[in-house]
Every structure is written in structure tokens, then in C-alpha cells.
């Protein structure tokens, strides 16, 4: 995923599954906006801007982050993340994990209804998760369900899920949507159990949802109807906001946020995203750690944060955002404090006294990255590294660079998850997504140990060590976690920001 900037961010990493074990509460994600003075008013219609169109209405097929963001209001899983990244029970009332960590038993909440009025039973859960795990076909619809051995529904209110091997990050997968047993029409007329129910969808234009009166949580939601309107151009979005045509503009550009600050409520929080410059470590000269370190020393992250994000970003030193405070290894951000002399001498040591030429490929759809790339090119110039910018189409980036690993350096934003394993596993030597070509046996064993570890404190230590290893190896240049900004109508209250790519409208309400 992208960044904040022009709202182009956020699509790169796009698995909807996220979460952390409910008991293990995550960090201090900032929540609700400043409570306005007026009292709460029931009802009302709200229009929320979204930047891209939806890919599928079927939550099991949908992969785009932008879709998950919207469908979050319509669907629920056994568990549901809150604004702090903690997993709370949703359809499930409670659950237990067997000692071997292989078997999960869920107790279904009573009185949960689907939008079509049908009451929810364990059969629906079984159908949904078996479908996701591909138990019939042998091919899981979602990778996170790959480790599921079986899903059983011993009675109407109990579901038992068995894994092939223990996995501490599995619980996050259970935020996946539950749909009615045997329901096939999700793409036309999605039916879920969330606070809002689907009303209509016009491709390229909007998706409208309305209040689901039978939602199991009383008084939720407050709004009668929410329209997610697709406005792909930020300038048009700004105009629409100003003219009152939309009420909530998530991921508004930083420039624009400042412009509307006086007339709107504004929020700006880290979004659990890692923007980084990656090296193709298999290629010369990046196979030499001194070169990678030299480039790290040459970069001035503060200048980038100033220039591209207007200061609204958090400096990073490894592949984890401080949003996940519990796992976050502090102090790595300044490991490679800008030092041009050191950078030059490292280059000299590596045999490049006059620098070298390289290509920085950047996905052209993300203006934020394109901008960052321009600043980086200017900074590297100072140590004699000539950077040729190569803007590539997103589809080309995915195929050639991400899958094909055919590049020198590239710049991208990697979406954060609620669980560090799912963030860091790209660096495993045998990971199909290891487009860095990073390979460090010590890192591999550390991460493997972390995911299998059941002890909380030990696991945290292992994850921190993994981060440090990445930083030591200068596996990439970790730049920042750009803030996500939201501008809201001043009459609205109760809006929560998540360390995830979601819009939660269930808590939003109008004030008098």
C-alpha cells in the first residue's frame, strides 16, 4: 500500500485478514475524534468518499483493500477488530483454544440475524469458513485459511475449527465474513450480519447501505443510511467536501487537510503502513551490505517526511509501524542517521568510489511514491549514485517487479496487519513474496520460532529481534508510516480511526 498523500495509497497490500488475539491487546491506536459539544441525534444520512471502485461484493472473493474498507460495515466474522487493533468477539460470544493450539471452539452469540431476517446458526459459520478454507475444492480462497484442517458445527451454537499445526496468528483470520449457509448470490446482493445492510451499488458511482434495525448491539448504528461515493480525483473530492456533498473524506491529502482545517474536523493518525525502498539483493551492487548501508546513510528520512508528507508521518527503522506498539522495536529509526561521509566511505570500501547508476522503479499510480522517489533520487545524487526513475504501471509492477523480481530498486508501501508474523513473513528465504531476495537463516529461524511460540513475552522478544536483524542487514530503506487523514463534517461525532484499512460507520452519529 501507498501512503497518505493524495489518497492514492493503501492498495498494494490487500489481504483483508488482519487482527491479533483478542486477549493480547494491541497498541494505542487513537480513537474517536474530539467529542463535540452538542448531544447525540438519532438517524440521518451520511456520504463517505471512497477513492476506488469495489472489486467484488462477495466478501470472500474481494481482495482489494478498498472493498474491505466498505464491506466492514456490512459483514462480520466470529471476531472483529476494534480501533486499537484488538480482536473482540462479534458473532462469537466467547472462545477457547486447546492446549496444543490446534483446536478452537467458539460459542455463537444468540439472536444474531442476517440482513434477510434469517437467524444465524453455526451451520452458516461452518459453510462460510469451509468455503474460505476451500475444504471442498482443496484450494483455499484466502491464504490465511490455508492451515485449517476442519470446521465442525456440533450444535447450533458451537463451532470447532481445527488447524494442521499451531499458529499464533490464526485468530486474525476469523474476522472474515460469515454469510448465510449455501448463499451464492453475494456478488449481486450481499447478505451479512453487520450493522448496515446492502441497499444498492452502481459501479463507478456509489454503494449505498442502510441501517440494519435487527443488529444485535442495541442502539448501533445511529445513522439511517450511508452512501460510499466513488470520487477518484482528490481535487473533485475536495470540492465535493467543501460544497457539503460529502460528509467524510477519509485519506484526504495532507495539503488539502490543511486547507479545510478551519471548516471541518480533521484527524491525522499513523496508519500501520511501511513505506520503503527495497533493493534487489540478488543483484549487484546490492548484494553487498556496505552498499545497502551506504544508501541508508545517504537518505534523509526527515526531509522526505517533510517534503512528501508535510511532516505527517512517522519515521521507521524496520518493517513494522509503531502502531503495533507491543511488538515495535524502538531505536531502529536512527540506526542509519544521515551521514554522507560515512555513506561515501562505505561505497568506497565496497568498490564504488564514484558511486554507480541504478534504476528506481516506482508504481506510477501512487503519486505519493512517485514524489518520494523524486526526493530520494535527489538525495542519492549527493553520494554519486545516479538514480534513473522508472515509473511503471501497477499491473507491470506486480508482475515484473513483485512476482518476477526483475528490478534494481523499487519503492512501495507494505500494508500493516494486526499480527507481526503476517507482516514480516515476506522476508523468509522461501517466501514466494520475498521480492527483496532477502535471505538470512537467523532471521528465518527467529520468525519461525516466534509464530510457534505460545508465550507472549518470548514471542515479543523474538519479533523484536527479527526487526533488528532486518535493520542490521539493511534489507531495505525503511522510510515512514505516513499518516492517514480524515476530514469530517463538524456535525458528526463518534468517528474512529483504525490501524487497518476500514471505515467504521457504526459508531458515527449526528450532533444537535
Amino acid at each position: 500500500g501507498g501512503g497518505n498523500g493524495n489518497g492514492n495509497g493503501g492498495e498494494a497490500a490487500s489481504s483483508p485478514s488482519a487482527g491479533a488475539p483478542a486477549s493480547e491487546a494491541a497498541s494505542a491506536s487513537p480513537s474517536a475524534s474530539g467529542e463535540p459539544s452538542g448531544g447525540k441525534k438519532q438517524g440521518g444520512n451520511v456520504t463517505v468518499l471512497i477513492l476506488q471502485d469495489l472489486d467484488f461484493l462477495d466478501p470472500h472473493q474481494a481482495v482489494a483493500a478498498g472493498t474491505y474498507e466498505v464491506l466492514f460495515n456490512v459483514f462480520e466474522g466470529l471476531l472483529k477488530p476494534n480501533e486499537k487493533g484488538e480482536l473482540l468477539p462479534a458473532i462469537a460470544e466467547s472462545y477457547t483454544v486447546s492446549d496444543d493450539g490446534l483446536s478452537y471452539t467458539f460459542k455463537i452469540r444468540g439472536g444474531v440475524k442476517f440482513h434477510n431476517g434469517q437467524p444465524l446458526t453455526s451451520a452458516d459459520v461452518k459453510y462460510s469458513y469451509a468455503r474460505l478454507a476451500g475444504l471442498d475444492t482443496g484450494k483455499p480462497l484466502q491464504a490465511t485459511f490455508g492451515g485449517v484442517r476442519s470446521v465442525e458445527a456440533p450444535d447450533d451454537s458451537t463451532v470447532v475449527i481445527t488447524l494442521k499445526e499451531p499458529n499464533s496468528s490464526f485468530l486474525t483470520a476469523l474476522t472474515a465474513a460469515v454469510i448465510p449457509n449455501g448463499y451464492q448470490d453475494s456478488n449481486k446482493n450481499p447478505v451479512g450480519t453487520g450493522p448496515f445492510k446492502f441497499k444498492e451499488y452502481t459501479p463507478g458511482q456509489h454503494l449505498v447501505v442502510e441501517k440494519f434495525p435487527d443488529y444485535y448491539q442495541a442502539g448501533v448504528p445511529s445513522l439511517d443510511q450511508v452512501e460510499f461515493r466513488i470520487v477518484s480525483d482528490p481535487q473533485a473530492g475536495l470540492l465535493a467536501l467543501k460544497s457539503g456533498e460529502i460528509d467524510i473524506y477519509p485519506r484526504i491529502g495532507t495539503e488539502q487537510l490543511e486547507q479545510v482545517a478551519s471548516d471541518f474536523q480533521t484527524l491525522s493518525t499513523p496508519q500501520n503502513l511501511v513505506q520503503l525502498v527495497t533493493f534487489n539483493i540478488d543483484r549487484k551492487p546490492f548484494d553487498d551490505i556496505r552498499v545497502r548501508q551506504a544508501l541508508n546513510y545517504a537518505i534523509d528520512k526527515d526531509e522526505i517526511i517533510q517534503g512528501v508528507a508535510l511532516g505527517k508521518g512517522t519515521k521507521l527503522g524496520s518493517n513494522l509501524s509503531p502502531v503495533l506498539a507491543k511488538y515495535y522495536q524502538e531505536g531502529l529509526e536512527d540506526k542509519y542517521k544521515t551521514d554522507l561521509e560515512k555513506a561515501k566511505s562505505l561505497l568506497k570500501e565496497a568498490g564504488y568510489p564514484d558511486g554507480f547508476e541504478t534504476t528506481l522503479s516506482v508504481p506510477s499510480v501512487y503519486q505519493f511514491h512517485v514524489d518520494t522517489a523524486q526526493v530520494i533520487a535527489a538525495q542519492l545524487e549527493k553520494i554519486g549514485v545516479k538514480v534513473k526513475l522508472e515509473p511503471v504501471e501497477w499491473a507491470v509492477w506486480l508482475e515484473r517487479i513483485y512476482k518476477g523480481r526483475d528490478y534494481d530498486t523499487t519503492i512501495i508501501g507494505l500494508d500493516g496487519k494486526l499480527d507481526p508474523y503476517q507482516i514480516l513473513n515476506k522476508y523468509l528465504s522461501d517466501s514466494p513474496n520475498n521480492f527483496f531476495n532477502y535471505s538470512n537463516p537467523e532471521f528465518d529461524s527467529t520468525l519461525q520460532a516466534a509464530v510457534a511460540e505460545t508465550d507472549d513475552a518470548k514471542r515479543i522478544e523474538l519479533y523484536k529481534k527479527a526487526q533488528t536483524l532486518l535493520a542490521d542487514d539493511a534489507a531495505a530503506i525503511y522510510i515512514m508510516d505516513p499518516n492517514t487523514n480524515v476530514a469530517l463534517n463538524k456535525k458528526l461525532a463518534g468517528y474512529k480511526t483504525y490501524p487497518l484499512y476500514v471505515q467504521d460507520l457504526s459508531s458515527v452519529y449526528f450532533t444537535e
Binding site: 491464504a143 459501479p203 458511482q205 466513488i230 470520487v231 480525483d233 481535487q235 501497477w394 499491473a395
Partner: protein
């Protein structure tokens, strides 16, 4: 008869050429539609599964043939990205682009004919010079920049027109017209300039022809000569130009829709190209090319009405 046959044959040939062209485009460019949909987190199995489901794992030639077979029965296939029939997607975006194009054509006609006449009536005089300066400027300002300027002026500064809200044609026709007025105007301005220039030249040419002298020698007044005789004959090249413009307007709307964030063909096509959603791209290209060609064909037919000399041989 023969004429129509030949025309239709050429038309069909043109469309097929255009389609093969687009298809080859997709043959050469890198980018896997399944990957484009699934993004970075997708596993290899997921990609393969999706490719199989989309049918993109088959050889290109098979896909092309299949697509043509479908297109022959007006089935444009299913969008890879939206898994909706391409024809439905086109239909859902058509009103916007069509209104935009038609509104522009209407604006073009409404403005260019009086301006052209004003310029041609007294060549070299003040009105002519003014029109000529205006048309030169109109031609030179890129329409999307004109759109930005209009947006800046009428949307941001004056707040005269709603911006960025596209109101459905079926919801409120009046608002729909109003919300597309600025982009339509931005699109129309360069085209007005073109038509005015053609009309002026053509009218001046006609006014210099012998038959105008004959008409005057009958005792007809200036207006009768202009409107009754010269104008009609000079509309012939203008009709051609407007026919060609329809295509330009359709294409121009691709760009202007981006400026005004209108949910028309433009955003659909650009995202379809980005997503390698080739049935959608093919469908859109086919549709646009076909409409351009059909409009040009209609213009050809209007020749018959405007110029009896052209025997449709």
C-alpha cells in the same frame, strides 16, 4: 444499395482492425489480470485459481477467438475485475459519457453557427476579427486545462455550478444536465473553434460562387441569399466536421471526466487498462469505435439531404 454495402463492409473491416489492434496491445504488454486483481498478498494458488476462473490461463488466440465469437452475438463477455457483464458496465457508464458528448455537440452547434455566420458576413471587419481571435484561443487552450480553469472559476470561486456530483440522468435530468455543463463546455470550446473556422471558410466560399450572384440578380435580399441559399450548401463540410468531432468528443470526454471526476467511460477505461481487464477494454474500444463509425455513417447519409449532387454510388 451498392453504396451501403460497400460502406458497411468498410465499416466492419475498420472495426475488426481496431479490435485486433487492441487485442494485440494486450498481447504485448506485461501484466497479469489475476495478479492485478489479487495484489501483493496473493498466493500462487490463488492466482492460478483466479486465472482459471477468469479464463486467462488459456492461450491468447483462444481467448481472442472466444471473444470474437461472443462479440458476434453482442455478448461482450464479463469484466475480469468487476465480474459483471461488460455490456452492463458500459450501459451503466454510458449515460454520463453520452450526455457529455451530446451536450457538447449541442453547445458546439448552438454557438458555432451564429459565430460562423457573424464572421463570414463581413469578412475582415471587427466581428470577423473578434471571432478569429476567439477561435484561435479556443483551439489553443487544452480542453482539460480549460476544464481546470472553469472548475477554478465557477466551482471554487463563484460556486455557480455543482462540481463533482454527478446526478444520474434518471434521477433528475435537469441537475444531470447542469452537473455536466462545465465539462461539456470545456470539451466544446475547441470544437466550436474548429466548426466556426470551417463554417466561415465554407460560407465565404459559397458566397463567392456564381449561384449566389444569380440569387442576388433575382432580387433576393441579403438574408434570403444567406439563409435560403448559401448557408445550407455550406453546412455540408460542417456536418462532416461535426461527425468527426463526435469521436473527438467521446475521446476528449475520457480526459475531461478525470478532471471533473465523472463516472463515465474515461475512468472505466483507464482503470481497465491498468487492471488488464481486457474484455472490458475491448468492449469499450469496440463500443467507442462503433459509435464513432455509426455517427460518421449517419453524417454520410445526411450528405444526401444536404447535397443532392452526391449520388450514393
Amino acid at each position: 444499395m451498392n453504396y451501403y454495402f460497400r460502406r458497411l463492409f468498410t465499416l466492419a473491416l475498420t472495426v475488426v482492425l481496431v479490435l485486433i489492434l487492441t487485442f494485440s496491445v494486450f498481447r504485448v504488454i506485461p501484466g497479469d489480470p489475476a495478479l492485478a486483481i489479487l495484489g501483493v498478498e496473493a498466493s500462487q494458488e490463488q492466482i492460478e485459481m483466479l486465472s482459471e476462473k477468469l479464463g486467462t490461463d488459456r492461450p491468447m488466440a483462444v481467448q481472442l477467438l472466444e471473444w470474437f465469437r461472443g462479440a458476434a452475438t453482442l455478448d461482450l463477455g464479463t469484466s475480469l475485475r468487476y465480474s459483471e457483464p461488460v455490456s452492463d458496465l458500459i450501459a451503466s457508464r454510458l449515460p454520463v459519457t453520452l450526455i457529455l458528448a451530446l451536450e457538447s455537440v449541442a453547445i458546439v452547434i448552438a454557438f458555432s453557427i451564429p459565430l460562423g455566420i457573424a464572421a463570414a458576413r463581413r469578412p475582415g471587419k471587427a466581428a470577423d476579427l473578434a471571432v478569429s481571435v476567439l477561435t484561435q484561443l479556443g483551439l489553443a487552450v487544452p480542453s482539460f486545462w480549460m476544464g481546470i480553469l472553469l472548475l477554478l472559476l465557477f466551482g471554487l470561486t463563484l460556486n455557480w455550478v455543482p462540481v463533482s456530483t454527478y446526478v444520474g440522468w434518471d434521477e433528475n435530468p435537469w441537475l444531470a444536465l447542469r452537473s455536466t455543463f462545465l465539462p461539456a463546455a470545456a470539451l466544446a470550446i475547441p470544437q466550436i473553434a474548429i466548426v466556426v473556422r470551417y463554417l466561415r471558410t465554407s460560407l465565404l466560399e459559397q458566397l463567392n460562387l456564381d449561384y449566389v450572384r444569380t440569387a442576388r440578380s433575382k432580387g433576393l435580399g441579403d438574408r434570403a441569399v444567406l439563409y435560403g441559399h448559401a448557408l445550407r450548401n455550406s453546412l455540408l463540410p460542417v456536418a462532416t466536421v461535426i461527425g468527426i468531432q463526435f469521436g473527438e468528443l467521446l475521446a476528449g470526454s475520457l480526459v475531461i471526466e478525470q478532471v471533473f471526476s465523472l463516472p463515465g467511460f474515461g475512468s472505466l477505461l483507464i482503470s481497465a487498462i491498468g487492471n488488464r481487464d481486457y474484455p472490458l477494454v475491448q468492449g469499450l474500444v469496440l463500443f467507442i469505435a462503433a459509435s464513432v463509425i455509426v455517427v460518421n455513417f449517419l453524417v454520410d447519409l445526411s450528405y444526401r439531404w444536404l447535397d443532392p449532387k452526391i449520388k450514393l454510388r
